[in-house]
């Protein structure tokens, strides 16, 4: 379907909020306020924005460690997400997971995962559960190109294709192909670089979409999500995109790609291209400026909240290991 300018402005706002949230997080990382790893999504926002737009009540998503956007777009409070990155007690998973393990189960976001490919079978199982329980929910399963060379993807895709034959796997496989698994390009990771074709081995139909173009993603996302919901069969997406930022906040050399390449892709930045489209449609620049200013303020508020939040209570160290029945011992 075609979106009018008002609807697109709404998407623009959400994408800008994510971008500026992550800019604030990257700054905090450089200041030493965020520990561990920080994997930023900048450049890929149109993918999660487009697909998550078509989630319904009862649907689930699961993704890898580049998970800030997925959590926020599904309703996680940016303050709680930022507090998690800061390792604070007000964090969305109480300071126990950090950047790689955001969860917002209430909104259907079933986690970010840190082992490449390891979460893919979980998404397939969740999709089975949806059908088994007689619910019409689906699963959007996100993963990067790096995980397509890993056994977990292939075992899970095989199961999904198989279970789809009896309409027991409403799982939308969303490959976010940002062209690099950390610093290893697709060409250096596989001889069969047409990644979407790998779905075909498992009887899963698929299509490619320009992941830098929000309107293109929305068009595919609406159709693909509906199809999976109606058929109970998996369907594959290859969203071709680009990470405009380093792999992790500590990847500052970027020896594996040229500045020229990054510059070229910056011209396709999904946020600036959407802004240009909105101006073409007659939206005032001042309105976009207001959106950016408000998003900046929101990001700064999240950072302030995180900064001022208390560390987790030390008693939290020993909770949430088991739901019941096992005493958990402290260190020492």
């Amino acid at each position: 379907m075609q979106f009018d300018a008002e609807a697109l402005v709404g998407f623009y706002q959400q994408m800008v909020e994510i971008r500026l949230f992550e800019d604030a997080a990257s700054k905090a990382f450089r200041q030493g306020k965020i520990g561990g790893y920080l994997h930023v999504y900048s450049g890929q926002e149109a993918v999660a924005m487009g697909f998550i737009n078509y989630l319904q009540e009862g649907d689930l998503t699961i993704t890898a460690y580049r998970d800030h956007a997925h959590a926020i777009l599904q309703g996680a409070d940016p303050k709680a997400v930022m507090a998690e990155l800061y390792g604070k007690g007000t964090g969305i998973v109480k300071g126990k997971g950090g950047s790689m393990h955001l969860f917002h189960a209430e909104g259907g976001m079933m986690g970010g995962y840190g082992i490449v490919g390891g979460h893919i079978p979980l998404g397939v199982g969740m999709a089975y559960a949806k059908r088994y329980r007689g619910e019409d929910g689906i699963v959007q399963l996100y993963y990067g190109d790096g995980s397509m060379h890993n056994g977990a993807f292939h075992e899970a895709a095989n199961l999904a294709g198989l279970w789809g034959k009896s309409e027991m796997c409403p799982c939308l496989f969303i490959l976010e192909n940002n062209q690099y698994g950390m610093g290893t390009s697709v060409e250096r990771a596989t001889a069969m670089t047409d990644l979407g074709k790998k779905y075909e081995s498992y009887g899963i139909e698929w299509e490619r979409v320009d992941g830098m173009d929000l309107e293109a993603v929305l068009e595919v996302a609406e159709r693909a999500t509906k199809r999976v919901r109606e058929t109970g069969k998996p369907y594959g997406i290859e969203a071709y995109s680009y990470r405009l930022v380093p792999h992790g906040a500590a990847d500052f050399l970027e020896k594996y790609r040229t500045k020229e390449e990054v510059r070229k892709w910056r011209e396709k930045d999904p946020i600036t291209t959407l802004a240009a489209r909105l101006l073409d449609m007659g939206v005032e620049e001042s309105r976009l400026e207001e959106i950016r200013a408000a998003a900046k303020e929101k990001a700064d508020e999240a950072a302030k909240f995180a900064d001022e939040s208390p560390e987790p209570d030390l008693s939290e160290l020993l909770t949430d290991v088991y739901a019941e029945g096992v005493p958990v011992e402290a260190a020492g």
Binding site: H101, A156, A323
Partner: protein, 327 residues
């Protein structure tokens, strides 16, 4: 009480719970149409159909991961590892996802999952098909690890495991599938974290779990002929671990022998020794003895395999050593 085999007790626990709770499903290799390599699930596909008794391809990581996803989304899956030896292929799923999900989600999700199958050796399957993984899985917080030795326990612990909100590693004594024993009628659970005194005695405490428990009962009979009264303790549960029962027994006997078929170092027996030296130091009249498997990959030839695992004679000898009856 009804007399039934370990295998039938196990099957009846799953079948009865599947009758009661529709969220329970089974997944595994050849568990349906084939009937299960060890016939544990034989007939269940006829009773419950292919959506609840799910034959999977040979892809342990994939189907174990899928079962974790099912558990997170409101089901109670039971995964059969055809043998626990294949679980290394699913170790990433078990350790990195099942064991930790509750913690790193800040308590937002539970993983009510049972992974079950035969563990241990004794049937000439050689190196890649023979492991005792109690110590290995027992190491990881977030998992519950049990190893029942009798038909009664295997049923009661399976019923408890299916209803448990956490992931349970259910290590069956494969060599005991055919043994018979009395099993209570109806619904009953055997709680985790409680060891069982399988035989009372006063002179020495013999400690084991799984396949070694019936062996220790034979040892105790033979020791009795030598006027030695042995207490036999079946640990039943590795994590949570019941320190009290073994400490209490050693307070009475002052001597202990721990028996396991897994390798000696960094093992369940190592842990028992650590607990006893710490909690019962002043009660011990002799160093605790470990009787373990040989430090080799499991061999094939029958005589070599027998020699690779603890024997009745070795345990008797260890019991006599802690009693200072031999060196």
């Amino acid at each position: 009480m009804a007399v039934m085999t370990y295998r039938d007790a196990l099957r009846s626990a799953m079948a009865e719970e599947m009758e009661r709770d529709e969220s329970v499903v089974l997944l595994g290799e050849d568990i349906g149409i084939y009937g299960g390599t060890h016939l544990v699930t034989n007939g269940l596909i006829d009773q419950f159909g292919p959506k609840r008794v799910i034959d999977t391809p040979i892809a342990e990581g994939g189907f174990t991961g899928a079962a974790i996803g099912m558990a997170m989304a409101g089901m109670r899956p039971i995964v059969e590892m055809m043998t626990w030896n294949f679980s290394f292929l699913a170790a990433d799923q078990i350790i990195q996802n099942a064991a930790k999900l509750r913690y790193f989600s800040g308590g937002q999700v539970n993983v009510p999952l049972v992974i079950r199958g035969p563990n241990g050796g004794g049937v000439q399957l050689s190196a890649q098909h023979t492991h005792s993984l109690e110590g290995f899985y027992g190491h990881f917080p977030g998992l519950k690890v049990v190893s029942p030795a009798t038909p009664e326990d295997v049923k009661g612990m399976m019923l408890h495991a299916i209803r448990d909100p956490d992931p349970v590693i259910f290590l069956e004594a494969g060599a005991l599938y055919g043994i018979k024993g009395e099993v209570p009628e109806g619904d009953f659970e055997v709680e985790f974290g409680k060891a069982r005194v399988a035989r009372e005695g006063t002179d020495v405490t013999l400690i084991a779990y799984g396949r070694q428990v019936p062996m220790l009962l034979k040892v105790a009979d033979q020791l009795e002929e030598q006027d030695i009264s042995a207490e036999v303790i079946d640990l039943r549960s590795i994590r949570p671990f019941d320190k009290e029962t073994i400490v209490e027994s050693v307070r009475k006997t002052h001597r202990a022998v721990v028996v396991q078929e897994q390798w000696r170092y960094f093992s369940v027996a190592s842990e028992v020794c650590a607990v006893l030296q710490h909690e019962a130091f002043d009660d011990l009249d002799a160093p605790v003895e470990r009787v373990s498997g040989a430090e080799v990959p499991a061999p094939y030839a029958r005589n070599l395999e027998i020699a690779a695992f603890p024997s009745v004679e070795q345990v008797i000898s260890a019991a006599r050593r802690v009693l200072y009856l031999e060196k």
